[in-house]
Point group: C3
Chain length 107, copies 3
């Protein structure tokens, strides 16, 4: 048994939660805050059998990894005769810790 | 020293907290959300000496274990001439992880 | 890699967060509740390389350790002809657990 602690951006949290449920991975979710940006983010606690740790990491990778997205940035609209062309920004990302577990009990 | 992570239903959390205090077990409580039902639940972080792990588990078992309760279900009231007879439902339950601790410091 | 779990008083939390950032220590913050006093406190999750564990502990010690503060207590004002002289009270304090980490991944 391992305890996986996964910190993801708030905007990826519900997509990730649904993906865990679809993969029959039980999780508990915490509302947390990033130390640097002070923005709300989401932390998942996931107790999982050793042989399913890789399944959990694959679900996180597919649903919350850091990626580039084209957004039409408002900034460009202000330029004289500017057109709203897309800008490439980095979004998402997951910070994941796998902790050992001595014992697991359900009452 | 172990770190016990115990996830219980919100309705059992204050009874459990009082039972920990009565047993001189220090705890920290988090408001969390279940991944499947999306309901608010409670997670306790409990740092405890190795020789008191069993005490903690006994307190959890006594105050938050899954059990059957008779409730008079509103559903039956709607049936023509229905009487409000009790229905047996499963409530409570605790999911508990015992994690190893390398070091414990109080400043 | 270790996971440090540090529980501090709410009033020390923003000073401590700023000190972590200044020392390039990445952290995630949780709003938590003390089991005994039922007061809101702050819990930091800090994933850190083994060789920087001591740095983290030094930052916590400098910014959140239990200390004595003189406060002018309102209580004394009520006494007939009482003067508002300072009273020495204990504030702050940090409860810190260092947990082992099997694996650390950033997606
Ligand atoms: N070792 C660790 N232990 C515990 N929690 C951890 C952690 N590493 C990351 N986190 C958590 O994950 C969030 C995202 O981190 P990430 O490194 O992707 O993205 C970071 C990073 O790219 C940047 N950043 C953080 N500290 C920085 C610094 N001192 N200087 C420059 N950029 C920084 O700001 C982003 C947001 O950071 P923020 O602290 O608001 O939010 C962090 C924090 O809540
Ligand atoms: N391995 C684990 N790691 C981290 N947290 C864990 C965990 N196992 C349980 N939990 C936490 O404990 C709560 C109660 O779990 P329990 O298994 O008693 O009760 C569960 C279970 O009986 C049922 N359930 C969960 N996932 C299911 C699924 N995929 N299909 C059918 N029933 C499911 O729904 C109840 C509520 O689940 P919910 O997720 O809302 O809330 C969960 C979750 O917050
Ligand atoms: N082993 C552990 N595991 C998990 N979390 C832990 C912990 N030890 C301490 N904490 C957390 O740190 C907070 C401050 O603890 P501290 O021992 O400095 O300060 C404590 C202690 O001086 C006192 N206290 C706690 N339990 C007591 C009891 N049964 N009898 C008398 N005093 C108590 O009340 C203060 C506030 O306690 P509170 O529970 O509200 O808040 C606690 C709790 O949230």
């Amino acid at each position: 048994m391992k305890m996986i602690v996964a910190i993801v951006q708030a905007k990826d949290s519900s997509r990730l939660r649904k993906a865990f449920t679809a993969a029959s991975i039980q999780v508990t979710q915490l509302s947390t805050t990033g130390g640097f940006l002070r923005e709300g983010n989401a932390t998942f606690l996931i107790g999982i059998q050793d042989d399913r740790v890789q399944d959990v990491l694959n679900v996180i990778k597919k649903n919350a990894k850091s990626r580039e997205q084209y957004i039409t940035s408002q900034m460009h609209m202000d330029v004289e005769g500017g057109s709203a062309f897309p800008v490439n920004v980095k979004v998402g990302g997951a910070t994941v810790f796998v902790l050992p577990v001595d014992d697991f009990i359900k009452f």
